[in-house]
Symmetry: C2
Subunit: 189 residues, 2 copies
DNA sequence: TACAGTAGAGAACGAACGTTCTCCGCGCAA
DNA sequence: TTGCGCGGAGAACGTTCGTTCTCTACTGTA
């Protein structure tokens, strides 16, 4: 038998792909079982319920998002570049054929009013992103009020790209971010 | 018996409130029946399926959105003011206790990958909003590239406010919109 | 009054879901 | 080898849902 950690990862990975592609409620536990190659009994020994699996999947997504963001800003040499790297990261993501919007936004829309655990996890992820942006804004020497504006641009780009099915929202948001950065740093200098 | 138009409106109205509050899939047709006071038989004579009802509800939301936007910009005397009125409209909306995000975004996240009818309706609504903004931007004498930036701000404010559960995203987005407008009209002048 | 047509209330049906249970086979201690 | 415990496969269970069907009551007409 495969060890607990490996089984857990296989289940979360399979559930993540299925939930993201089809929506959480559209995917049954049987489909997760088949895709993960882990028996239902085992799944329910690892997660008490589907709700718990959903939260585990969201946490997994958070880790992927964080590492993606970190690696996207690796080449950046300034805080300003690291901020704009967020939108380049979004652009690359939007171009992936599997892109279907932000999993957190989608899951919140689907279950946010039914499961407080889901709502809390999503809110925490967005809060962490806002904090990340706020730190970059501070590093760039811009006033703190700029941070939520940039975060809103990133959020809006994600939903716009998801619904339109096209990636151009990324560079549109990037251009807006550049303008806001220019004004904020010029005024603050 | 009440006439067809009244029955239709009662069903759509009741379904709209329930779908928006709890999510589409979480609401059964029985609940719609009870809330609307229209028998299941009648509902299914008005709408061939739940999917068709969902689309009717989305179209109903579109009408509400359009009139809300129109009345919000009534007092505005310039294109710039009409643009900013969008964000004042969002602010008022976010403060309503029943606010739970944009119904189109929520429904798209829930059913966009399962129902092409839903995906198409949502895409069309967003396209119409982009067109509305584009017209205002043209009226303001700003370059066309500003329009999608403003639309992205509006979208981002809606998801941010929905997830955070607080209304401040509206004025943050409004401030960003003002900055972008200032820059765009100054450069274009 | 008798009758035809229609609509409402909700029971019924078949499918699908989350979750649990049963059965079977395998690995290991003595 | 014999027994035992554990895990895999998936059947089974109870519920819920979308949709249809049945039964009853009522309306309007002669």
């Amino acid at each position: 038998m495969i060890d607990e950690k490996t089984a857990r990862e296989a289940v979360v990975q399979a559930a993540d792909e299925l939930f993201y592609a089809h929506g959480v409620q559209a995917v049954g536990m049987d489909a997760v079982r088949t895709a993960a190659g882990v028996s239902l009994k085992r799944i329910y020994s690892l997660f008490a319920s589907k709700d718990e699996l959903i939260v585990a999947v969201l946490n997994h997504r958070t880790a992927i998002w964080d590492t993606g963001l970190a690696s996207a800003s690796e080449r950046a040499t300034s805080a300003r570049e690291r901020i704009l790297a967020i939108f380049d990261f979004l652009d690359a993501w939007f171009r992936e054929p599997s892109f279907r919007g932000c999993a957190f936004i989608n899951t919140h829309g689907e279950l946010g009013s039914t499961s407080t655990a889901v709502a809390d996890t999503v809110r925490e992820q967005k809060r962490a992103f806002q904090k990340y942006v706020a730190q970059l804004v501070a590093d760039a020497g811009a006033p703190p009020a700029l941070a939520p504006q940039l975060a809103i641009l990133a959020e809006g780009a994600q939903t716009t790209a998801a619904i339109a099915g096209t990636p151009e929202a990324a560079h549109q948001a990037r251009a807006a971010a550049e303008t806001l950065l220019d004004v904020a740093t010029a005024a603050h200098a």
